[in-house]
């Protein structure tokens, strides 16, 4: 039996009275990689923010590890710490690369901090830049440090918002390998937002298509790509969608 990590029910988020996310039903399973695809502005990043409990929904519930949360019941710090996000833009602290990766570990007083930070930096190929100021990194380097900072925490759930958007093909493959390894070896549950259909295909066990805040289709890989049920999904996958 597959365990469910997240159950989203009747979940909505509004900004200034405009509904930007409206999900009736979505389950996320333990140890899976779920890809979220969809046009720009369809609410992908907003969904990740709700999953990380960074924003609270205006309606509906998120059940996480069997506990029900909603706008009037937010998870404790300890629960929140099981989830972390790699943001679309690398938002690094004005400190060294090392201190950035060390940051979340220090907050938690994690054991073996040094070793975990070093290992994470090594994994993304940024160990040599450990003592460089993080704000002086290039876009792609920043993105890799941002990923290292998240995986060092060994979260139960890792949310990735366009993790390879600024990277060259070599580094894209490297990051994708890290994601696959984490999922295979440590059963980290992952939600990956990507614009890249091929990346979704390479990484995910299931794919969800989001459009104007609504879930149009959720299907397993490769059925999602090969036999989409909804005409809009088919158009999006084929690159024919106009938006």
């Amino acid at each position: 039996m597959t365990e469910i990590v997240y159950q989203l029910r009747n979940l909505a988020k509004e900004y200034a009275g405009r509904r930007v996310l409206d999900i009736d039903f979505l389950d996320i399973y333990r140890g899976e990689v779920l890809a979220i695809v969809g046009p720009s502005g369809s609410g992908k990043s907003t969904l990740l923010q709700l999953l990380n409990f960074l924003e609270s929904p205006c309606q509906g519930t998120i059940t996480f590890n069997g506990e029900v949360y909603h706008s009037a019941r937010l998870p404790s710090l300890e629960v929140r710490r099981r989830v972390t996000t790699v943001f679309q833009r690398p938002l690094l602290l004005n400190r060294t690369v090392w201190q950035n990766v060390f940051y979340g570990l220090a907050l938690r007083n994690s054991p073996e901090r040094e070793q975990r930070a070093r290992q994470a930096l090594n994994q993304v190929g940024m160990l040599d830049a450990a003592h460089q100021g993080a704000l002086s990194l290039s876009g792609g380097e920043g993105q890799r440090v941002s990923l290292a900072r998240a995986i060092a925490l060994q979260p139960q759930v890792l949310l990735l918002d366009e993790p390879t958007a600024n990277l060259d093909p070599y580094n894209i493959r490297k990051i994708e390998d890290i994601i696959k390894d984490l999922n295979r070896d440590q059963q980290v549950t992952m939600v990956v937002v990507t614009h890249n259909i091929f990346q979704a295909r390479r990484l995910a066990q299931r794919v969800a298509f989001l459009m104007e805040g609504k879930l149009i289709e959720v299907a397993s890989n490769p059925a999602f790509f090969e036999s989409p049920q909804d005409a809009r999904t088919a158009a999006f996958v084929a690159g024919d969608m106009v938006y």
Partner: protein, 219 residues
């Protein structure tokens, strides 16, 4: 002569130093609170702060004067811990009131300039509300240092308020600025110029020290 000279400088530094300590103690948390959190009445506090930053120091001197004078509301109460007029304590009060809006205002501005998403990222890394606040403050450490320098600049070179509440009493409340005014009026341009040079040098030195500090914090 020389002892007068160094006495004046020492008193200036002591008064402004203590005032700066209090205005940082007061201004930093206020600036941080307004910068970090939304709460009812926040707009009003911001408006008051901006007013405070642009408030003519001499008027603050006047208000402190009225407040502390024996016939004033506080003077007549005879509170023992309140300094009397024409003492360094009175000058410290005036300078604290002049400079804390600077410290608070610049700290607030520095925090508001932070990318709002950075806060989300910090939260996402597992920071508690308190840890988020401390991390954001450390992100704007340069702005905080600058706010303190600005506060120092606003009081070390101020004349009107210290003249009013201090009274420019030789050996007791005579600071550099009030001494310069007096010596110039008396035609003692040498002494006035010398004090002016020290004042200039001090502000320069303060900025230099702060720059050094900034470098250290960054490493």
């Amino acid at each position: 002569m020389i002892t007068d000279f160094s006495e004046i400088i020492t008193l200036s530094l002591r008064v402004s130093g203590i005032a700066l300590f209090f205005s940082t103690l007061l201004g930093l948390p206020i600036g941080a609170l307004i910068g970090l959190y939304r709460f009812p009445g926040r707009k009003l506090v911001v408006a008051l702060l901006y007013t405070g930053m642009g408030f003519p120091p001499v008027v603050i001197g006047l208000l402190v004067y009225l407040l502390l004078s024996r016939s004033g509301p506080l003077g007549s109460l005879g509170l023992p811990w309140l300094p009397e007029l024409f003492t360094p304590g009175a000058m410290i009060i005036a300078q604290t009131i002049i400079s804390f809006p600077m410290v608070a205002g610049f700290t607030m501005a520095a925090i508001l300039a932070i990318d709002p998403q950075l806060r989300q990222q910090i939260r996402s890394l597992g920071a508690s509300e308190w840890q988020i606040a401390m991390t954001l403050l450390s992100e704007v450490r340069l702005g905080v240092i600058v706010s303190i320098v600005a506060g120092f600049g606003s009081i070390i070179s101020e004349v009107g308020a210290v003249m009013l509440v201090g009274g420019n009493i030789a050996g007791r409340t005579r600071v550099m600025t009030t001494a310069i005014v007096l010596e110039t009026r008396k035609g003692n341009f040498d002494l006035a110029l010398a004090l002016g040079a020290v004042l200039l040098g001090l502000t320069f030195l303060a900025n230099l020290i702060m720059l050094r500090l900034q470098g250290k914090v960054l490493d």
